[in-house]
Symmetry: D2
């Protein structure tokens, strides 16, 4: 099969991570160009990885008829616009989450994708984590019967800079959004209502910036099943990412992996290492696997596994949680977006 | 020191369990009488354990001036009345939870205790579980710094009979009540607000009886910390009792003990045994330890470790959860009981 | 069924432990007398547990026709002699390990038992540990197919006093003897050869007393399967008692139980408690279960589960290990005892 | 720093694995040529990875003055000869284990290396496994004090083909050799004596081929510490690779990593996945890390971390084990090689 030719938009941390994975670990793909507003960043990355062309602007990528697909890894505020441009240029699209913070923008972008008949995958990489995808498989295979209760623990090792928090859209749209998607993925059904409780316990500056740093979000699924997500911006023992799905015939549980398997036992007890530091270490495999899945799907002409609708619903859930927190009451998703 | 002479009221499952523990495992105590409305039950138990006297009515126990303390293990509706009688007779009281389902009755009972100057301990045995008490010690010792998030998973192996559910006061007053007490115990602070979500997923008959079988309860503590309890009436893999307290400097975590330490590894993977079946197996030690603590306290003339106020607050939390579920909004404890 | 009347010989640590278990935890048994060379020790124990008679000499126990069974918990050098006396008195016998350190004495004792037609159980309590007995059940049920490799780790928390070591018969007859019995129990077959390597690493005084404190013993079973036992007299992290049986279709593994299930996670990693301290804490249940099994067997008129032959073979293995260590070569059990 | 130019000899499984790691994961290295007796294999690999030159014979690699280092990944019988040729050509050498099965050949090869003043690293990759290297670090840092007992469990998922076994040199030189090196690495001291016991339990054809498939090897270190290795050619539950080092102040323990962290709990108990299949999956990181360490060392002009002497001693231990098994007695390494 002829390799898919790819252009990458954005040479920041996640763009470079995807670029390296595409070049080194995803067969059947050829990265032919990379663009970044900081042209030098694009050039440095291109040089390091042997990517032929580097630009300070994505236009030549959209105009390059040889390019079949683009990866949008630029800042959030540019996602929707680049999706529309890419769609109009007839290119398949892999876009980092969130599609946009504005629901109308999302709708316009998804419309453009639909009209153009191209494929779009949103970067909810955690679905491709070997443990979480095996957990989903177990649930889908009926190993626990009908699901009753979902639990997700998702705690970062340290909060981002306050400047970032100010433009992030808030914890629910920046951090919990991954857990919202994970909830739908693991349960295989839609959430209808959320109730969010939150607090500022990690750093008062986060509160001053109008956000919270600790949250407990209760979910209600359409089947009547329930879920709960707990978040913290700072777990000193490392990146804490656990899930469990409990049902009529049992429970599927995913604990944190360890950086190594060494235990030291002494007169004080037994001692193991802290958890993996953060998402780059914890979700290494998932980044490779999400891109492999994307390119496999478009090579086969099939819908990729995380759709634009998935991307939109997670944002809707974020807004529902936000409103719930503000108003101190459960909020139905239909209050945010009448139809999904 | 002279042994404390004890009368036991109630020779049902929990009364017999306490009786046997007192006779065989708690030194410095002499059980001199046991009473049960089914007099034969009292006699059988007395005979088996060598308890000198057995009655079909507790009156002779209250009247026996030799008896220093009573254990109230009769049905819930009799607790408050027997507490008052015991208090008036000048006897120290160990009473099974809940004190009563009616808050005014509770207040009357606690008043009687106060007026009589006797001691009262409520049977929240889980505080005395070696793991949970070690977890509380770690939190109190500052091992995790300021607490941010509490999580309690509490799932029974199977629902009680529907007839029992009908008179139980509902899941929050019957089952979650233990978790409400555990929440206050582990955190060492008061809950100010609860939000309860619930569903009927285990058995529709439970719904027909006006109750739920699956619940997620969000707690807000006075410090701003949050908590979440999840309950199910049926975990097929056994009695699931876990807690975690997460804070600024770490996390304390209690996992389920196993009935034995055998693992079988074969071509399908590794396999361990189901969890301990239910509370009698899981909390064996805690029952002995709560009685030891009670008698140690009264021997020293000190307030026992679980007070009447503790017993009352757990009931108030149960009513707050009930109202929250009915009205679909967070409920402050002060709405139920203006002062605690 | 009428209760079995029991006399206990020896009111030292293990005698008192058995006495308390019999009185409090083993139904259908009545302890009517206890004897100890230190008569006061017997009296103290009798008083504490409500045992009617206490003696400074076991003769009245042997002469008491009402007594059906004796527990021999006195010092090792008296075991064989008391077995013979008890057998001649027609009493069933539970005897602590080892039967004797002299093989001829053992044979004489076993002959007396045989002639008298009474039952004898030897105190290899670990067979009755819930984990080890479940492991044996799994092996016997064919869960791992034919067994290939047995591993036993058995490490004490601290060495006994040097004075004790001098009269103990050496590590193989004092400490490894339990592991030798465990090896035969778990595999369900006989050992034909042992190779023992040893060293003095814990305390040079142990070496000066003519013993070793660290050992690795290789076993060869009659089926060709192999085993290895490792011992140390001092594991600072607690009493380390693990086994694994590896076979053609898998492995059965027993890890150490923990005193509680609390983990603390902080910036240094995760931390659990040290292991249970020593045999009294680790094997609590096994002591109750071995006595229950003994009395159940004799009530039914059946051979108890750990025979005199089992007691003898473990001693033979101890001598084979001793000779192997001295001569630096594998030693067949048949070199020590031509027929077993 | 200018990249090191490398030639790879051998394009079989391990050669291709190293080639891919060098091209994709080890910075500062440029693979300029690959050779294999099956020239087509070399060409295929070269094409896939963008290696400029491919040969059916290693001579052009030795003659290429631009090449600084070679990787010898060809069949065992060619290692020593290629080491000598590479040394004479002034190239640094990374050679797969074992250097040779003949001790004189090894000596000649090591002499050639010494004379040429080049560096040689032997491919004991397990030293670079993150868990085993962290375990070694803990031991070296004194975390457990003086080491008393080493335990290594090393079991393959399935035996190699009988044809391979016939030419492998036997289990001790083919499989246990890795454990012999691990023993010296973890303890940081030399073994002086080995006692090997073995059996044919997995497959009688292995016995017919003159080998064993199950082994227990006791080690004695120069400090007096002891060790034990257990091997099996077939663990149906996956590749079982565990170690523990027990000492005066505690124990360091390495358990097996899992392919993912999913547990399923149901009425039968809890269930996890089988272990990683074999060395390619289990030791992925170690292969990258051993090459990084090699190239880092030669770039700095320092002795690489696994020397030719390390390679020789592991072979000597293999022969000592072989003789021990044949003669049924412990064998000192000095009997095999008078000086090491």
């Amino acid at each position: 099969m002829r390799p898919v030719k790819v252009g990458i938009i954005g040479a920041g941390r996640i763009g470079r991570l995807h670029a390296e994975n595409l070049v080194r670990r995803v067969p059947g793909v050829e990265v032919v160009a990379i663009a970044d507003v900081v042209e030098e960043a694009a050039q440095r990355c291109a040089k390091k990885l042997g990517i032929p062309r580097a630009y300070g602007d994505p236009t030549p990528i959209f105009e390059d008829s040889e390019i079949n697909a683009v990866l949008i890894c630029s800042s959030t505020d540019t996602h929707a616009c680049f999706i529309e441009q890419a769609a109009r240029s007839g290119k398949h699209i892999f876009c980092e989450k969130p599609i946009a913070l504005d629901l109308e923008e999302i709708d316009r972008a998804l419309d453009a994708v639909k009209k153009a008949g191209v494929f779009l995958q949103v970067g909810f990489n955690r679905r491709f984590d070997p443990s979480f995808s095996a957990a989903r498989d177990a649930v889908a295979a009926g190993k626990i019967g009908r699901a009753h209760l979902l639990k997700i623990t998702s705690r970062d090792p340290a909060p981002p800079p306050i400047e970032y928090i100010k433009v992030s859209g808030g914890i629910f749209l920046d951090m919990t959004i991954h857990d919202f998607d994970m909830a739908r993925f693991l349960m295989g059904e839609e959430v209808v209502e959320v109730y969010a409780a939150g607090a500022v316990l990690v750093d008062p500056k986060i509160g001053e910036a109008g956000d919270i740093d600790t949250a407990v979000v209760t979910l209600r699924f359409e089947s009547g099943a329930m879920g709960v997500i707990d978040n913290s911006r700072r777990a000193v023992y490392g990146y804490d990412q656990r899930v469990e799905v409990f049902g009529e015939r049992g429970m599927v549980r995913v604990e944190n992996p360890k950086p190594h398997q060494v235990m030291v036992l002494n007169a004080d007890g037994d001692h193991g290492p802290p958890l993996l530091h953060f998402f780059v270490e914890r979700y290494t495999d998932s980044y490779v696997r999400e891109l492999s899945a994307f390119f496999e799907a478009i090579q086969k002409g099939e819908e990729p596994p995380v759709t634009g609708r998935d991307g939109k619903i997670a944002v809707v859930m974020g807004y529902a949680a936000k409103r719930s927190l503000e108003e101190g009451r459960p909020v139905r998703l239909s209050e945010i977006a009448p139809s999904l």
